[in-house]
């Protein structure tokens, strides 16, 4: 249990350090607008009114809060911090093994001369991915979530304290390989980028609709393998558009480099839009 901000960090470890508290960032604890009035919200025939408090001393309290409000509060403070520092934060989500780390490694190799980049790596265990990224020469921080199956905005707040990404840089956050939970946990990023590899089957967007709905960009990776597989690219894109009519799709291969210039163009354009937005 974190005594500074009341977080139950559980087994989360940031770069093999036990979670210790040198909070530099402000934990903006979400201001909870709860109220005990009855007049404002009329539930009509809702179950709340069908139920009268049983014991004399018990009373009803209206809360009207999102279940993830705590996370959303931290996400809002991260987002504010990113905006203040002109940082483009991208949350990379996918199943394990779709090629996130490989894609990041190549992206960094190709862009580090012209853009400032840093990486937060999320995995349940090991610091392998952060080590792979550091080998490219940019700073990277590993978060191990232990049993946790997703990164949350509070962990990212702490990671920013240690990583200190530069002004006007791009921060890639590689989430834990999981197409379910990360969809619901806003980290304060500008965009979620879903990576789907062609070895996974074209109906993934239908099987995990929330994730593809939450993403603004889908990178269809490992297209170098298409000649060896039965994978219908058009069908896959069609499925993705069913759950998210706005989603952009780019076809890439992180190993052969095919299609990567489109992704770089997307990155540069998105960063420029963010910077002129200020």
């Amino acid at each position: 249990m974190c005594t500074v901000c009341g977080c139950s960090e559980g087994e989360t470890r940031i770069d093999e350090q036990e979670h210790t508290h040198g909070h530099h960032h402000d934990h903006v604890h979400p201001h909870d607008h709860a109220h005990t009035h009855d007049q404002l919200h009329d539930y009509g025939q809702g179950p709340a009114h069908a139920h009268a408090p049983g014991m004399s001393q018990s009373r009803m309290v209206q809360i009207e809060q999102d279940i993830l409000s705590k996370n959303n509060g931290y996400a809002a403070s991260n987002r504010h911090w990113f905006a203040e520092h002109g940082i483009l934060a991208l949350n990379l989500v996918s199943s394990p093994g779709s090629g996130k780390t490989t894609l990041l490694g190549r992206t960094i190799d190709d862009l580090k001369a012209e853009m400032r980049l840093s990486v937060i790596e999320g995995d349940q265990q090991t610091a392998h991915d952060a080590e792979r990224i550091r080998a490219t020469g940019v700073s990277a921080l590993q978060i191990n979530t232990g049993k946790g199956c997703h990164l949350d905005a509070h962990m990212i707040g702490h990671a920013l304290d240690s990583l200190q990404p530069e002004q006007n840089s791009v921060l890639f956050i590689e989430n834990v390989g999981n197409l379910v939970c990360p969809a619901a946990f806003d980290l304060g990023e500008a965009h979620k980028v879903a990576i789907l590899s062609v070895t996974e089957g074209e109906d993934k967007p239908l099987k995990y609709p929330d994730m593809f709905h939450a993403a603004d960009l889908m990178l269809l990776n490992k297209i170098d393998l298409l000649p060896h597989l039965q994978f219908d690219v058009d069908q896959c894109i069609d499925y993705a558009r069913r759950v998210n009519p706005r989603i952009k799709v780019l076809q890439v291969s992180a190993t052969s480099g095919e299609g990567m210039t489109n992704w770089y163009q997307w990155l540069k354009t998105t960063q420029q839009l963010l910077l002129i937005g200020d």
Binding site: G46, M55, M60, I63, I67, K70, R241, R242, P245
Partner: protein
């Protein structure tokens, strides 16, 4: 959806509110869960019992209000019911749907003392 994380989220709100609202026991919790939020209701109940053990909400009753999914069809301009995100418009079969309801995961009300 990961119901255990969601229940931990609920628990955090219950603890935070205890001070502000001046209660020491939670007897019942009303959640509003959208049909498109992909929450497994049975699993939610199970996790809620686990997460509340030994807390101020131990043995609290969990009441879940389910809210139907709804979308606006960009093709035919109608508001239609939606069971799943990837369903087509029941009126015109288009997939160009904008979800307008049934995504929420809200804590609505508590019975406390």
């Amino acid at each position: 959806m990961h119901e255990m994380s969601l229940c931990e989220g609920v628990m955090q709100v219950l603890k935070d509110q205890a001070h502000e609202q001046g209660y020491s026991r939670v007897e019942a919790v009303w959640l509003e869960i959208g049909e498109l939020a992909n929450v497994e209701i049975e699993s939610m109940r199970f996790c809620f019992d686990v997460v509340t053990q030994g807390t101020l909400a131990e043995q609290a009753k969990l009441e879940i209000i389910e809210v139907p999914g709804q979308a606006w069809c960009m093709q035919c301009g109608k508001t239609v019911a939606l069971k799943q995100r990837f369903d087509a418009c029941p009126e015109c079969s288009s997939y160009q749907l904008q979800v307008t309801g049934g995504e929420q995961m809200m804590i609505k009300e508590l019975e406390v003392n």
